[in-house]
């Protein structure tokens, strides 16, 4: 079993593994851009790889695609070693990298046709696939236009269609919703969900949009400065980094009560928001003793409810914790 970082253990009942990285590292002129990454991505899920700019996300994708050779460590993608069988990986994988990778001088259809020919798709299959993808992304009516004048969002959509053209078993998507308007981004998220559900494709997704990651990803990895800070399900990540938050609605939250609460070992933090009190608990601690304390201090409690922190809050908390 590969160590899975801070959060959660890989559930072996999840089926085959699409990506397995063991102590993967890459150095550039003495600086480790990616340092000792170990993780697994099961087949047929969306794996979110989250991290700030320059954290090593793109380098990791390049290593997994066999475009760069690891300085140390190993990785297998779809059962192929990244060092020795890079061509076999690229045969079965698709990628939308930092840029859509499209030829401005060619039409939308010619761009997809070129990539279909690269993967030796028969002419009939190419035509059918191009029509299906362009229709899916709302670009069919503009198939004969050269894409040089297209908006960034349209190019991004065509770039995703390009990455999916040859029906890859695994798709690397580097910031796929960058440049898309909220409606197009939401539609894309739905398309990706359908793709995973319908075709069993595995998606390795890097994104800054944590709301999107929370919706799409079954597992996530968090990377910063080349180090993997955590990897596991989104629930694991939220639970382990944020603990649980409790909101107390009522009256009479005086300074003394707040000091009493702050002094309790299970309280990680607290504050007043719109007249109600929120308390961050350590390790899913019980709320009842705190309620008793507040009642004893004269607080009139109307309602107590547990809040689940978002992935975004968990991510920020993780970043702050590791600084």
């Amino acid at each position: 079993m590969i160590p899975m970082g801070d959060v959660g253990e890989y559930d072996s009942t999840m089926g085959d593994v699409a990506i397995r990285a063991e102590h993967l590292s890459r150095e550039f002129h003495g600086v480790r851009a990616v340092d000792d990454l170990s993780f697994e991505v099961p087949v047929g899920i969306v794996f979110g790889f989250l991290g700030p700019n320059g954290s090593g996300k793109t380098t990791t994708i390049r290593l997994l695609l066999g475009l760069l050779e690891p300085s140390v460590g190993e990785a297998a993608v779809l059962g192929h070693d990244v060092r020795r069988e890079a061509e076999a990986i690229r045969l079965r994988a698709g990628a939308l990298l930092e840029y859509p990778g499209l030829y401005d001088r060619l039409t939308a259809e010619a761009n997809l046709d070129f990539y279909g020919r690269i993967w030796h798709m028969p002419a009939n299959d190419r035509r059918t696939r191009i029509r299906a993808l362009l229709t899916q992304f709302g670009l069919w009516e503009r198939r004969d236009e050269r894409i040089g004048g297209w908006s960034r969002g349209m190019r991004q959509k065509l770039g995703i269609a390009r990455a999916l053209m040859h029906r890859p078993a695994l798709v690397f998507l580097d910031e796929p919703t960058a440049g898309l308007d909220p409606i197009a981004a939401a539609a894309l998220v739905e398309d990706l969900e359908a793709l995973v559900a319908g075709e069993g494709v595995t998606i390795f997704l890097t994104t800054h949009n944590l709301h999107e990651a929370e919706k799409l990803c079954r597992r996530v990895g968090v990377i910063r400065s080349g180090h993997l800070l955590a990897v596991g399900t989104t629930e694991d990540l939220v639970r382990s980094t944020s603990g649980s938050r409790v909101e107390v609605i009522g009256r009479g939250f005086c300074e003394r009560t707040l000091h009493l609460l702050e002094a309790r070992p299970e309280v990680a933090g607290l504050g007043l928001r719109n007249g109600s009190l929120w308390i961050d608990l350590r390790d899913d601690a019980a709320v009842a003793p705190l309620v008793s304390l507040m009642v004893g201090a004269g607080v009139a409690i109307e309602e107590v409810r547990r809040e689940r922190a978002s992935l975004e809050e968990a991510f920020i908390s993780l970043m702050e914790r590791e600084v």
């Binding site: 760069l68 930092e98 990778g101 001088r105 060619l106 690269i118």
Partner: protein, 245 residues
């Protein structure tokens, strides 16, 4: 492998045509160019165009100009337009990408040179034929095909090497222009610096060798340089290096 090379080559050709603005504009530009080289020049020279080595010399420099206009774009253009990494992330083998791009440039320069030469032959016959058929001697025809192909390959190989390590098309073209000027002036200065006796001996050797052996030697020399350039390109073509550049 052949199918992969062909895929890359045809994509490059599509881009070459559109590179000149639009398919119609590109075609018009090519027609004007081919018209001047293939019609105006041969008509001006008349029957001597088929009798003397002028057509062979023209068939050597014409592909140089044609290939130089597109080869800078081969790798530097892809890098500049951010399509190179995506292309490298496909299943295409290194050799298919490299040979596909080289074949596109060589095919473009060679084919247009042959078309221009045939146009010239037609024009010379129409204007200066006066009822008789003016044709190249078989060896001259072979020489035209040989030097135009090897000249195109020479420019593609050298241009490919420059383009491989250039950040932009403009940078590649500037480097290529400097290299061409360097070779041209180097030859000129070299010839001028050569003692008169050596020059005479070289001239006599060329004139005395006969057309066949001369074409064979030129073909062998150009062929060797072309192969050396292709080997250098294959050595320098490294996916990781291209991405990190």
């Amino acid at each position: 492998m052949i199918a992969d090379i062909w895929t890359v080559t045809t994509k490059e050709w599509r881009e070459y045509v559109i590179l000149r603005g639009s398919a119609r504009g590109g075609l018009l530009g090519l027609l004007v160019f081919a018209g001047f080289i293939g019609v105006v020049m041969p008509v001006e020279l008349g029957a001597s165009w088929v009798d003397t080595p002028i057509a062979i010399v023209s068939a050597f420099w014409l592909p140089l100009v044609l290939v130089l206009s597109v080869i800078g774009d081969s790798f530097a253009g892809e890098r500049e337009r951010h399509t190179l990494e995506t292309l490298l992330a496909t299943r295409l083998p290194d050799r298919a990408i490299l040979l596909g791009k080289m074949a596109a440039a060589v095919g473009y320069g060679w084919a247009l040179t042959l078309i221009a030469t045939l146009l010239g032959l037609l024009a010379v016959n129409l204007v200066h034929g006066h009822g008789r058929l003016l044709l190249f001697r078989p060896l001259a025809g072979l020489g035209i095909a040989e030097v135009s192909l090897l000249g195109a390959a020479l420019t593609a190989g050298a241009g490919g090497l420059v383009s491989l390590r250039s950040a932009t098309v403009r940078e590649a073209q500037q480097r290529l222009s400097i290299a061409v000027m360097g070779v041209f002036f180097g030859l000129l200065i070299g010839l001028q610096a050569m003692p008169r006796a050596w020059l005479n001996r070289l001239g006599e050797a060329i004139l005395g060798a006969g057309e066949g052996p001369l074409l064979l030697v030129v073909g062998l020399l150009l062929g060797l340089v072309d192969v050396a350039l292709l080997v250098a390109l294959a050595i320098r073509f490294r996916r990781a290096r291209l991405i990190l550049d």
